[in-house]
């Protein structure tokens, strides 16, 4: 048994002791902690090779066969711990040896080239804090849903890598180049067609996430990253880019990441994530007390910066601006806060975001009416929460369509 394991076992023992009847009596009576419970009376753990999360914190993604969701209601701040970043993949997480990794760029280029991971890391690098969100990120229809269950397929990291334009410059684009295919090296051999303009604008090939190598679940050793675009387009484990003069019409951009809209039409290449906000506190399954409550949440837009988050504490009758946490970054989760004194009566609270294009986050009914659709990809509705007199919080379904002064 190592020293760390021994200390761990003693700590576990301490936890057990504190839960026996004697321990409870002691604490309830406000008496001094026993020596075993008092961290000032026993030596702590020595420095380790890798940090740990407190054993008191139970942060977990919820998983299904195809995805796992970030616990938004448990986060403070806007950077998602890397091990809690949401996952969505179509053929499992591959194991890729970084020494054997290659990215090939070919097609309508002057010089077809291949780059090792080492090569990629030699180019001028750039870091960017930006969200990544799956476009199938809306669940409803049940009042006992957490933010994680409603829209836990969004996460934020500091991504580091190189601009894709740097690589395009290196290989040289031929005059007809207007689209490129991004292909992953996983079992799905994931493919999406991306306009060259996005490739030249802000697309990155990233090899690091929050200061360390990109996690396997997020595309180790390198992935495409398209700020503000639906997650599927940021192809993970990227191994090949083929430049062409037309979209490839892959399965994901035809039969999958498209949505039915009005008049029987199917909307395609709907890649930008519209602005969205969600209150993460107070929400189900939390229970709150009357009095001062700081309403907290995150807001973001795939088109630019968040300019305003409004809060209603009376089921949409009145709206007030929330405080935004600086810095407000482009295409990034932005924290908001709103201090409120709850009188204990049943009410519905909600948030809505505006971005710098003038877009306002819609109510569910507005989206459903605009698209003649009940749900699907790119649903970003206002999420209302009902506070009950007993302090419990549930997802509220019925949402009125009331306009604020800003809309008039």
């Amino acid at each position: 048994m190592t020293r760390r394991q021994l200390i761990g076992r003693v700590a576990a023992l301490g936890l057990v002791l504190s839960q026996n009847p004697y321990g409870r009596t002691t604490q309830a009576g406000g008496l001094p902690l026993t020596e075993l419970d008092d961290p000032t009376k026993k030596l702590g753990v020595f420095p380790g090779k890798i940090g740990t999360r407190s054993t008191f914190e139970k942060l977990e993604k919820t998983t299904s066969q195809t995805s796992s969701r970030s616990p938004l209601q448990d986060f403070h701040g806007t950077i998602t711990p890397s091990d809690l970043h949401f996952e969505r993949h179509h053929g499992g997480v591959p194991v890729i040896d970084p020494e054997r990794y290659e990215l090939i760029i070919h097609g309508m280029v002057e010089k077809p080239m291949k780059f090792s991971l080492h090569d990629l890391k030699r180019f001028p690098s750039v870091s960017r804090i930006s969200f990544l969100e799956c476009s199938g990120n809306y669940r409803g229809g049940n009042e006992k849903l957490t933010p994680q269950q409603i829209c836990g397929l969004t996460s934020q990291s500091e991504w580091t890598g190189i601009m894709l334009s740097t690589l395009f410059r290196e290989v040289g684009l031929k005059p007809k180049a207007s689209w490129f295919l991004a292909e992953g090296g996983d079992a799905a051999v994931m493919t999406r067609s991306i306009p060259i303009s996005k490739g030249l604008d802000d697309a990155m090939i990233v090899y690091a996430q929050n200061g360390e190598a990109v996690r396997p679940e997020q595309g180790y050793p390198a992935r495409l990253f398209l700020p503000g675009w639906e997650g599927n387009t940021s192809v993970k484990w990227i191994r090949r880019i083929e430049v062409s003069d037309a979209p490839f019409m892959t399965r994901e951009e035809t039969s999958k990441y498209t949505e039915r809209v009005k008049d029987g039409k199917i909307r395609q290449f709907s890649v930008v994530m519209d602005a969205r906000s969600i209150i993460t506190f107070p929400t189900y399954p939390q229970v709150v007390e009357r009095g001062w409550i700081e309403i907290r949440g995150i807001a973001w837009s795939g088109r630019g910066r968040v300019t305003l988050v409004e809060i209603s504490v009376d089921n949409g009758k009145n709206w007030y601006p929330a405080r935004l946490q600086e810095p407000v970054l482009n295409k990034a989760h932005t924290g908001f806060r709103f201090l409120w004194q709850w009188d204990g009566r049943e009410t519905v609270i909600m948030s809505r975001v505006y971005d710098d294009t003038g877009y306002r986050q819609p109510f569910l009914k507005e989206l459903q009416d605009a698209r003649a659709s009940r749900g699907g990809y790119h649903f970003n509705p206002v999420t209302p929460w009902r506070l009950k007199p007993d302090g419990s919080v549930v997802l509220a379904d019925a949402v009125p369509r009331i306009r604020s002064n800003r809309d008039k």
Binding site: H90, G91, I104, I105, H106, K111, P112, M113, K114, F115, D119, R122, F123, F168, R169, E170, V171, G172, L173, A177, S178, E183, A187, A188, V189, P195, I196, S197, L200, D201, P227, G228, R239, E242, A246, F248, M249, R251, T254, S255, V261, K265, I266, R267, Q268, F269, S270, V271, V272, D274, G304, N330, K331, T357, G358, Y359, R360, P362, L367, A370
Partner: protein
């Protein structure tokens, strides 16, 4: 001809939309269009005056390097290998390798419905027949991805097209005629026109 016009519109709209996005990264491209792409990205053009014409990192990709991975198929047939397939042979392969997930006749399985007159089947929701070949060859069957031979993929493609009533059950699908199989769903596809701003779309 119709497809060419469609693709032109796709390119036009998407390039138009994306060019309005501005970012604060290492440099900004204010008005990206095809013409400007030509100007700035031919290799002799330097984006940043302090940058060399080429960093010289990476190596040339040989024909063999590219062929090893270049398996995509485009709607106009580019990338399709030689070969042909018929529904009856495809049906036999389907029953052995696909039915356990997709059902005996392309529906009623645990995974995606492939054959149906409604919902999101190949007949009702897939706009290009070439996508079928690309996808099956690329990653099916789920438990043995990429294990099918080109001929098996042609047979399966023929079977699924015939089962959806998109070709006749005796038609032979080839490298030449797959791109011209008429897919009813294509008429319903429209390109995203959301651009931000106050309108809810």
């Amino acid at each position: 001809m119709y497809r060419n016009i469609f693709l032109f519109i796709v390119s036009f709209i998407l390039l138009g939309c994306s060019s309005s996005i501005k970012t604060g990264d290492i440099r900004s491209y204010d008005t990206i269009d095809i013409g400007r792409v030509k100007e700035i990205l031919l290799p002799q053009q330097a984006l940043d005056s302090s940058w060399p014409e080429s960093f010289g990192f990476g190596r040339s990709a040989s024909k063999a390097d590219i062929e090893r991975w270049d398996i995509d198929v485009m709607p106009d047939g580019r990338g399709l290998p030689k070969g042909k397939g018929v529904a009856v042979a495809g049906r036999s392969i389907y029953l052995v390798k696909c039915a356990s997930c997709h059902g005996q006749d392309g529906s009623g399985g645990t995974y995606d419905v492939l054959v149906s007159k409604k919902g999101k089947s190949i007949g009702t929701y897939w706009p290009y027949a070439t996508t079928l070949f690309d996808y099956i060859r690329r990653t099916m069957p789920f438990n043995m991805p990429g294990s099918l031979k080109d001929e098996e993929v042609y047979h399966l493609t023929a079977y699924l097209l015939a089962a959806n009533g998109l070709i006749d059950s005796v038609d032979v699908i080839t490298q030449k005629n797959l791109p011209s199989v008429k897919m009813p769903a294509l008429a319903n596809f429209v390109i995203d026109d959301r651009k931000g701003g106050p309108e809810i779309k």
